[in-house]
Structure formats: structure tokens, C-alpha cells
């Protein structure tokens, strides 16, 4: 049995379960919840890692509530722009940032756009985005670039260094 990474991994597993809940003719409810759950899996993976660095354990849940979806998108976009500009960042961070932006939009569609019809192959592909992001993150989570990224996620503005 592998290491129990907890809630984010359980969410990702649940996303796959939902995507395959019906053997044939998958329900829109299952597919849409799968997409949404995959996004929240990555969202919570990053938040958990960020607040896990906070020494005062009883304050972590308060910190976790300060994360804003829109701001996180902006930070991820900044990572992509930095890579494009030649910044030396681990390629895995690019994978995580890219996946986060994509999953976030998919989640918005899944949760709020009733006109959209999801198909299983599309949903499973979305889930592979999340899976790849998890693997990429775990490969670099201890590195400075990853830790700086986490700090940016909940700082209003990075101080000059």
C-alpha cells in the first residue's frame, strides 16, 4: 500500500470513480461532478501544502480559507509567463500551473454551464490533467521554486528580494 496523502488524493480517486460510475451511458451528474472534483483535488493539494508550512497548526484552517480561485489563476499565469520569458523554473511547475488553469475553467463549466454535454472520454482526459499535475507537483514540492510558488498563492504581493 502506498503513502496516504490524504484528502487531495481521495478527491482525485473519487473523481475517477465518478467518471466511471455508470458502465454505459454515463450520467451528466457523474461526469460533471468528476470534473469539478478533479479541480478541487489539485486545489486542495496546493492549499494543503501551502498551509502545511505554517507552524501554528490551529491557524491553518483559517489560512486555507484565504485562498482565492481567481488569484491562484493569476499566479499560475505568472508562472507560465515567467517560463516563456526564460526564467529558470522546473518544468514540473509549468505542468502544475498549466493544469490548474485548465482544470479551473473546466470546473466552472462543469458546475455552472447546463448547456454543455460532457462525454466520458473528455472527462477522463481532464482527469489525466489532474493526475499529471499531482505527479509533477510531488516531484518538485520540496524545491525552492515550488515553495515560492506556494507562498505567492496567498500573499497579496511578493516583496522585493
Amino acid at each position: 500500500m502506498g503513502v496516504d496523502h490524504g484528502f487531495p488524493d481521495d478527491l482525485l480517486e473519487q473523481a475517477y470513480d465518478l467518471a466511471h460510475k455508470e458502465a454505459t451511458d454515463p450520467k451528466q451528474a457523474s461526469l460533471r461532478r468528476a470534473v469539478s472534483t478533479a479541480y478541487y483535488a489539485l486545489f486542495h493539494l496546493l492549499i494543503d501544502e501551502a498551509v502545511g508550512n505554517w507552524a501554528v497548526e490551529r491557524q491553518r484552517s483559517i489560512l486555507a480559507r484565504t485562498f482565492e480561485h481567481g488569484k491562484m489563476k493569476g499566479i499560475c499565469d505568472a508562472v507560465l509567463r515567467a517560463v516563456k520569458s526564460g526564467a529558470t523554473l522546473p518544468p514540473e511547475l509549468h505542468i502544475v500551473a498549466h493544469a490548474f488553469i485548465r482544470l479551473q475553467d473546466h470546473r466552472q463549466t462543469a458546475d455552472y454551464d447546463n448547456s454543455r454535454h460532457w462525454v466520458r472520454s473528455d472527462v477522463v482526459d481532464v482527469l489525466t490533467l489532474a493526475t499529471n499535475a499531482f505527479s509533477a507537483w510531488r516531484a518538485i514540492s520540496g524545491q525552492d521554486a515550488a515553495q515560492d510558488f506556494l507562498l505567492q498563492l496567498f500573499l497579496p504581493k511578493m516583496p522585493r528580494q
Binding site: 481567481g70 475553467d105 462525454v119 472520454s121 489525466t128
Partner: protein
């Protein structure tokens, strides 16, 4: 916001269309065709939404053809320079045959 998007979209279409033509050719027969829309994403940022129709065989291996296609599109189109977020959705020929959605035809 929408009035700002339309001019950006019109200017980008020839580049996007050229990239799609190239990618479909390169990825054939895995990729059958690609359709797209230019519209704001959930946060209001300009975006391009690609609908990629895959062969049943390509679709049976999630994340394989799709990731390569996305990477190739990024090589052909500098989305940051285009000031567009790029989003992709995929569907198999069989799934589309059942649904027959016009936007995927």
C-alpha cells in the same frame, strides 16, 4: 468586455486556422478535426476553446494524443503573445456519432 474580445478574435483567426490545419495534418488519423470558439473564460479573460474530435483509437488512450496535440499547438501558436488562454475538450468519433452536436460537427 465582449466588445473588446471580438476585435482580438478576428485578428487571431487566420493564425489559429493555419495552426489547426497543420496540426490536423500532422496528427491524422488520430485527430479528425478541430473546431473552436473565441470567447471570455470564466474569469473574463480572452480565451480560445478548442473542440478536438479524435478517432476512437486515439480516444481510448486518454492523455496521450491530447497532451501531444496541446504541446504542438503551443509551439505553433504563442498563446501568451496572442493574449489568449487556451482550453481544450476532446471527444471520440463514436461519442459524437451518438450526440451529433452541431458545434462538434
Amino acid at each position: 468586455m465582449l466588445e473588446l474580445i471580438a476585435p482580438i478574435g478576428a485578428a487571431r483567426r487566420p493564425q489559429i486556422n493555419a495552426a489547426i490545419t497543420e496540426v490536423v495534418k500532422e496528427f491524422s488519423p488520430d485527430v479528425v478535426h478541430i473546431r473552436y470558439d473565441l470567447k471570455p473564460d470564466w474569469s473574463g479573460d480572452p480565451a480560445v476553446y478548442f473542440r478536438v474530435l479524435l478517432s476512437d483509437e486515439a480516444s481510448s488512450k486518454p492523455g496521450v494524443v491530447s497532451r501531444k496535440l496541446e504541446k504542438r499547438m503551443e509551439e505553433l501558436l504563442d498563446f501568451l503573445w496572442l493574449e489568449l488562454f487556451a482550453y481544450y475538450n476532446f471527444r471520440s468519433v463514436s461519442e459524437q456519432a451518438v450526440l451529433q452536436e452541431k458545434s462538434w460537427a
